[in-house]
Structure formats: structure tokens, C-alpha cells
């Protein structure tokens, strides 16, 4: 019997799959679709083990779904260590489960010998809500803008968020996350915007800013740079946490909401922040049973409305509870959870453990560029220092989750403030200073709720360290 894990009916999403493709896993023919990543296609075919670790030969599977964690490395068409969670499937591809590190072979990746150069007014790294908003401002002020993202689609985290957003109307509250990228793109002055997908910005060099594409390297000369690289998911320590079937909440969202593939049949969600609550609800929408949501604190971390939706569906939210062990040999078959107050343990039979224990800003690129950073827990951990215009001391601008873990609405406003501030360094612009003042006001009102307090405190700390020198 064929193990088909694709989602065909969904209350919100319609999956328009591309052309049917055939490919091979270790010589065995399989089917997938155009515009699907290799990892998604394999998951749809019921394949969870993608490789084995070099030393202990532990099975390795999918985890982050955005090319950041290296858990999904496989051999593709003879090349080892390919990130299959972001590599699109092609007709006839030969995919192999990778045991260990992989062989180095005498054959070349096809790269053009020459490094190509290009120049632009604005370079924006990352096309999430922050990057897209910055691009909208920059192009509307008349600047040529290059927007670069290493994922196959534009929108960052938004491309998998099926729920309607909160916040103010100007930041598209009431709109579903998945619909926001198109709206923001629509705001851009099209003629001035160039978009590069599947392209990673990997370094600030004396020679220029380097971008890696599948077949070549490009060096960009830019008058202003805004880095909006978003965040990566935190991991949690528990026994067997590396088993295939233990996935990040973002990765789970990508599988089911972007590619229409079921991440599992029965799930345990860890963490009651907004991400945990929302993704648990999305799992239900996709037809996955959610056995429980565990939260180690004595209260729910996210918004009450999101929690209420889960409770109404009969999902138990277990406070003062954590996971202590995943069960299974090849992949997850169960989980042991524990009441940290009474010490009582409970075994659940399930095939998906979803980790939603927070995010950390992706600041690697900015650190490479020489930005100072500091540990500010209120902002999500190690963050780069910047002034009130989101300018770092390397002269590069930053905004969105890459500067502090918050939300899409604030990311959009920050992206705009950063773009206006960068533009003002290039000359006077009519109405810009006034617009920036309004945006600051908006950000303040957005943060006037309980959750905003934490960010405000973090920002205050950050400015203090920034001004220390």
C-alpha cells in the first residue's frame, strides 16, 4: 500500500501542486511535485529518515525546514551534504540517504569561473515582513533596491501563517499571514525592485557583499544595506531529541502549510507561546490529532484567544509539564511527559513531537560584518546593538526578528523606519522625517500592551549598552 501523506482537503488552504515528477530514493522510484522541496516530497512518501550521524550513526530527519539546522543533509545527484529542506525537487533526481559525512568526489559543481559584480542603492537581506516593508519604502523613495532571500519563495515566516493577524490595520491586521507578502509586494515601486530567490548573502568583504547562488557568486556594491534575516528556532534538551519526528514548529508549518504534507498523525506540542498555540491549531486544521500541549511554566505564554481555540477542540493544555524523553528507534513512536510538581510521568503514543520553545535572532551575518552584540533576554537572546534608527555600529541597518524577537506587525514598522533612516543619510526626502515620526508613534502604541512591556524594557537595555562604548 502506498503511504500517501499529502493533505487534499484543508479549511483555509488550497494546494495547487505543480507538475508530477518522478525521482529516486536509493534507486527506488518515487513521485513528487514541481515546486516541492526534496524533504517535503520524501515526507509525503512516508520517508522520515534522511541520513545517519557520522559518529554514533543515529538516524537524522527533517527539523527546521528553512535551511538552517543541517539535520536534513542528503546526497543529491552525487553531491553530499545537500540541504534537502530548501532544495527544490527536479525530474529524475537521484536522492540517497547519507551515512556519515559523505564522499568527496572528483567532479565539479558547475560554477561560472568569474565572480559577477552588480550595484544597487539598497540591498535588503531577507524577504520577510521586515524586508518587504523596507523594500516598499526604499523603492517608493526612488531607490533601486535588491531584495535577496535564500528560500524559494518571498515572505519569510509569513508564507506559512494561515491565521488572520492581530495588530493595527496599517500592518494588515485581519489579513491572513499568507496573503501579506503579495500585499507588501504590491506596495513596492515595481520598476525599482529586483528580487533574488534561492540566494544566500554570506559575507561582508572588503571587495563587496557576497551572495551565493546555485551556480555562481555575486559581489554587490550597495549604498545602504538592511539586514532582516529573521530568527531561528530554539532547541530543547531531552532524551532522544534527535529522532526523526521531533520537528521545530516552523518546520512543521512549512511542511503542512506550504507543501501540503502531513508532518505526522498524532502530535505532542511543546510550548504554549503564540507559536505553539497557533501551530497546534493548524495541526488540527490539517487533520493531525494533537494529544496534548505541554508547558513547563504555571501559565500559558501566548494570547488567551489562541489557547481558547485549542481548548474548545478538546486539546489538553498541561501546565507545569515538560517532555523528558522521546521513544522509538528509527523515528518517534511516543513521548514521556512529566508533571514537574508531582513528579508523575505519563507515556503517550504518537509520531510527532513539535518543539515551539522560542526563537533566537539570526545575527550571524551581522556579527561577521563586525557588529557588536549583547545578551538581552527580553529581546530573544544575543542581539546586535543598534541606535533608535536601527543602525548598527557597522553602518548596516537591521530590523524585524533579526533585531529582536517580536512579531510581524512590529517587523513591518521597523523595516520602514530602517529604510527611511538609511535613505535620509543619502539626502533630504520630502515628508520622510514626519513619516518616520508617525511610524515610531505607531510602534509605541503597538507595544502598549502587556507583551509590549518586555520589548520596551529590552530596547531600553539595548540602547544603554549601545551608548556605553
Amino acid at each position: 500500500m502506498k503511504d500517501d501523506r499529502r493533505i487534499y482537503e484543508h479549511p483555509v488552504l488550497k494546494f495547487e501542486r505543480g507538475k508530477r515528477l518522478s525521482f529516486y530514493l536509493d534507486g527506488k522510484p518515487m513521485e513528487g511535485y514541481e515546486n516541492e522541496t526534496i524533504a517535503a516530497a520524501l515526507h509525503a512518501n512516508g520517508i522520515k529518515t534522511l541520513g545517519f550521524s557520522p559518529k554514533l550513526k543515529r538516524p537524522r530527519g527533517f527539523f527546521c525546514g528553512i535551511g538552517k539546522c543541517s539535520s536534513c543533509l542528503m546526497r543529491v545527484d552525487g553531491y553530499p551534504n545537500e540541504r534537502t529542506c530548501i532544495l527544490p525537487l527536479k525530474e529524475g533526481m537521484k536522492v540517497e540517504v547519507q551515512e556519515g559525512r559523505g564522499r568527496a568526489e572528483i567532479r565539479g559543481r558547475e560554477r561560472k569561473g568569474k565572480v559577477e559584480r552588480r550595484s544597487t542603492d539598497f540591498l535588503i537581506v531577507g524577504s520577510g515582513p521586515a524586508g518587504l516593508s523596507a523594500a516598499a519604502e526604499a523603492t517608493n523613495m526612488g531607490f533601486k533596491t535588491l531584495l535577496v532571500d535564500e528560500n524559494p519563495s518571498v515572505g519569510g515566516q509569513l508564507i506559512k501563517q494561515t491565521h488572520r493577524f492581530f495588530g493595527s490595520e496599517r500592518e494588515y491586521a485581519g489579513t491572513r499571514g499568507i496573503d501579506i507578502p503579495a500585499r507588501l509586494l504590491g506596495e513596492c515601486a515595481e520598476k525599482l525592485l529586483e528580487i533574488e530567490k534561492q540566494a544566500s548573502v554570506f559575507g561582508f568583504y572588503p571587495e563587496g557583499i557576497a551572495i551565493e547562488k546555485r551556480d555562481r557568486i555575486e559581489l554587490v556594491e550597495a549604498k545602504k544595506v538592511i539586514v532582516t534575516t529573521g530568527a531561528q528556532e530554539n532547541y530543547l534538551l531531552f532524551e532522544n531529541n534527535d529522532l526523526p519526528g521531533v520537528y521545530g514548529a516552523g518546520g512543521v508549518q512549512t511542511l503542512m502549510n506550504v507543501y501540503g504534507v502531513l508532518p505526522g498523525k498524532k502530535a505532542l506540542m511543546i510550548g504554549s507561546g503564540n507559536v505553539g498555540l497557533i501551530v497546534a491549531y493548524q495541526l488540527l486544521q490539517a487533520g493531525v490529532e494533537v494529544e496534548a500541549l505541554v508547558e513547563i511554566m504555571d501559565h500559558i505564554g501566548g494570547y488567551q484567544v489562541h489557547a481558547a481555540k485549542l481548548l474548545r477542540q478538546g486539546v489538553p493544555i498541561l501546565l507545569n509539564h515538560t517532555i523528558i524523553r522521546a521513544l522509538g528507534d528509527e523515528c518517534v513512536e511516543g513521548a514521556v511527559i512529566k508533571d514537574i510538581k508531582s513528579g508523575e510521568e505519563q507515556t503517550l503514543a504518537l509520531d510527532l513531537i513539535c518543539v515551539a520553545v522560542g526563537l533566537s535572532p539570526s545575527i550571524q551575518l551581522l556579527k561577521q560584518a563586525g557588529c557588536r552584540s549583547a545578551y538581552i533576554p527580553e529581546l530573544g537572546g544575543e542581539v546586535v546593538l543598534h541606535d533608535e534608527n536601527y543602525k548598527t555600529d557597522a553602518g548596516i541597518f537591521v530590523s524585524g526578528d533579526g533585531s529582536a524577537i517580536e512579531e510581524a506587525s512590529s517587523a513591518m514598522i521597523e523595516g520602514r523606519i530602517a529604510a527611511i533612516s538609511a535613505a535620509l543619510e543619502l539626502g533630504e526626502i520630502e515628508g520622510a522625517v514626519e513619516k518616520r515620526r508617525e511610524l515610531r508613534e505607531e510602534l509605541r502604541s503597538l507595544r502598549s500592551c502587556r507583551r509590549g512591556e518586555k520589548i520596551l524594557k529590552g530596547e531600553e537595555k539595548l540602547l544603554e549598552v549601545y551608548n556605553e562604548r
Binding site: P54, N81, R101, A104, I106, R109, Y205, L219
Partner: protein, 372 residues
């Protein structure tokens, strides 16, 4: 107060601290950043005995032997792998020089030999333009971090006072040394200057002028692969070296032959691209590998590219610097030799005599095999 204060927590400072503590000496090590913050944390981890001058060969041989038992001595895995150094000769003239070197090396007990083009191929290396090579199976690679941390940990256990994140700002001499840092004041009978390329600045504090200049060297590491390359591959005339670590990464560096001294250690993209091209000629596998990291460090160069070991200006102001590209491989020897010098032992006197500060007054000629 310790009898000896060591300035600099690279592999040499750490080795000296360990060796002094092992002899029961009181010692304080002061490092501005963390242990391995200087050249040590940037280095390629190569260990070789094939040098062109006899004096250097002798201390390198002594050091290479010490590496063989170092893991046991420091009770830690130092990721030592002795797959040999294979040094390519790109012209008949160069090969003739290598033959002479090998004769000299053999005469003092270094088991090096000349390889034919066929023999180079047998190592899985593409000869490309090479006409031969010299090879020594005693050579290899180890992990500079693990070696340094091993020295540090054992030194601490033996009572050494290891201070990090503390910078030496000023030194004065008045019968004994007084060392002023940004945090403390120390007195000492002996000061060891193991501050890497910044050793010159340390000596300046005492009015001693060391002929040391910093030269930038860039280096990269690829993704980790199954083991396929045994020897450290090196070329003097192309100025490169590359090896595979126990962890599977290929670590390689290349430097333009004509460079000016600088403290600007910014990595460049052009290095990464040129180095990869250069290595592809001899290791075509490199074509399909990703470079994961690149960085740069400084060689502390003296006029003859050989280290300064021993006093300078003051009888008890001991230098352990000027290592150019070889300070890691020499560190087990340097630790022993400097510790023995401070405790008044004669054991290593002859071996280190060629590396005195005084030699620069007589005039020197340059060691040819500098890279790696």
C-alpha cells in the same frame, strides 16, 4: 607573587605555563582575551620536521616526538593524525634543493625521502605541474585548540595561575619586574614574552626592540567529508598547505609571496576563490566541496623567519616569539626549553643557542620553508 609571569595565552604561553608548573615553579599567565585568541586559534595545526636549516630541523624533530605522547601526557584527545607532509617540487631546480634538504634531514634522524611523480599519485594527489616531492611520515596535524586547552587545564591542576581577559599595559624593571595590567599589579623575577606578533609591543614597554613584524595569512575550512587525504600537502613555491583534519574538514591556506606587514586581518573573498582554484589543480575533489569558514591570522615574522628563544635586553626577560608559521608545531619543545632555561637547567642549551636574540646583531639569512 609568582616567580614567573607569562604574557600571552597562545599555545606557547600555555605550554610554558604547564612545563613550569610541572617542575613545581610558581607561574602566572596573563592573556588579554581567551586562551587561543591569537595566532593559535587561527592556525592550520600542521606539524613537520622537514625544514631547510639544520638547527630548525633539530628542534622540530624534538617537538614532533613530544607530540606523539602528548595526548597521554595532557590526558586529552588532541586529534593527532600523522599522515606525513608531502611537499611538492614544481621544477627540477627545486627538486635538487629538496634532495639536499633530505640528505641533511636524514643525517640528523628525520626520516624524510624524495617521491617520484608516480609516488605522489599513489597518495591520491594530482601532481599537475609537480616534478617530484619530499615526504616525511613523521609529520602530521593536530587540533591547536585541544592542545592549548590541554596545557591550560593541566597547568591549572598543577597550581599555575591562569588569568584571561586581562591586558598587560606596562612593565618596569627595578631589580625585579613589575607588570601592570588593566586589572592588577604583579611582581616577578622572570617575564616570558609569548605575545605572538604583539611581542614587539610588549618588549617596547621595557625599551627592548624586537625585529618582529606581523604578516597576514588567510585560511579556510571546508565541510567535513569522509577521510580521503592522508598527508598535509604543501608547496613552498606556490606558498600553500592543505590537510584533512580528524573531523573531516579540509583546512588550507595560501598567501601571496609578496606581502607587506599589516595588522589588518580582514578575510577577503579573493583569497577564498584563488585558494580554491589553486588547490583544485592538485586535489580535484575540492571542486565539489563547500567552503564553510574562512579567517585570517598573523605570522610573527623575524628577519630570518626563525623564532627568538631566550633573553633580550634583560637577563630574565625571556622571549618565546617570532615563530612565523611554525609556532604550533614547535610548542611542546618551546614549553620544555623555556621552562628549563628559567629553572637553570642546561638540558636544551645547545638546541636553543641558534635562536638567541643576539643573532640579529651578527646578521642572519632567511629560512626558506616558511609557509605551513
Amino acid at each position: 607573587m609568582s616567580k614567573t609571569v607569562i604574557i600571552g595565552g597562545g599555545v606557547n604561553g600555555a605550554s610554558i605555563a604547564y612545563n613550569l608548573a610541572k617542575l613545581g615553579e610558581s607561574v602566572t599567565l596573563i592573556e588579554r582575551g581567551y586562551i587561543t585568541d591569537g595566532a593559535t586559534g587561527k592556525c592550520g595545526g600542521g606539524i613537520r620536521t622537514q625544514f631547510t636549516t639544520e638547527e630548525t630541523c633539530r628542534i622540530a624533530l624534538e617537538s614532533s616526538k613530544l607530540f606523539d605522547s602528548l595526548a597521554e601526557e595532557l590526558a586529552c584527545d588532541i586529534e593527532l593524525r600523522k599522515g606525513g607532509y608531502l611537499i611538492l617540487a614544481h621544477s627540477d631546480k627545486e627538486l635538487e634543493e629538496f634532495k639536499e634538504n633530505v640528505r641533511m634531514q636524514n643525517s640528523i634522524g628525520v626520516p624524510s625521502r624524495i617521491l617520484t611523480v608516480k609516488e605522489i599519485e599513489a597518495f591520491g594527489v594530482e601532481p599537475y605541474d609537480a616534478v617530484g616531492a619530499s615526504f616525511c611520515k613523521m609529520d602530521g596535524v593536530a587540533n591547536p585548540f585541544k592542545v592549548s586547552f590541554g596545557y591550560r587545564d593541566r597547568a591549572k591542576e598543577l597550581g599555575a595561575d591562569i588569568r584571561t581577559h586581562e591586558e598587560v599595559r606596562k612593565i618596569s624593571y627595578n631589580g625585579g619586574f613589575e607588570i601592570l595590567t588593566d586589572k592588577n599589579n604583579y611582581g616577578a623575577d622572570f617575564v616570558v614574552n609569548a605575545a605572538g606578533y604583539e611581542s614587539k609591543k610588549i618588549a617596547d614597554m621595557l625599551g627592548v626592540s624586537l625585529p618582529i613584524e606581523p604578516y597576514k595569512h588567510e585560511i579556510f575550512a571546508t565541510e567535513a567529508m569522509d577521510h580521503f587525504l592522508d598527508p598535509m600537502l604543501m608547496s613552498f613555491s606556490k606558498n600553500f598547505y592543505i590537510s584533512q583534519t580528524v573531523r573531516g574538514e579540509l583546512v588550507g591556506g595560501y598567501s601571496p609571496l609578496e606581502a607587506e606587514p599589516t595588522e589588518d586581518l580582514t578575510p577577503t573573498l579573493s583569497f577564498a576563490i584563488r585558494a580554491k582554484k589553486l588547490f583544485e589543480e592538485h586535489l580535484p575533489q575540492i571542486k565539489s566541496l563547500r567552503l564553510l569558514r574562512q579567517w585570517a591570522g598573523a605570522y610573527d615574522m623575524t628577519p630570518d623567519a626563525l623564532p627568538i628563544l631566550g633573553p633580550a635586553g634583560y637577563e630574565r626577560f625571556i622571549q618565546a616569539n617570532g615563530f612565523s608559521g611554525h609556532g604550533f608545531m614547535l610548542s611542546p619543545f618551546v614549553g620544555r626549553a623555556i621552562a628549563s632555561m628559567i629553572t637553570g637547567s642546561e638540558r636544551y642549551r645547545d638546541l636553543v643557542s641558534s635562536f638567541s636574540f643576539e643573532r640579529f646583531k651578527r646578521g642572519v639569512k632567511r629560512e626558506k620553508g616558511v609557509v605551513g
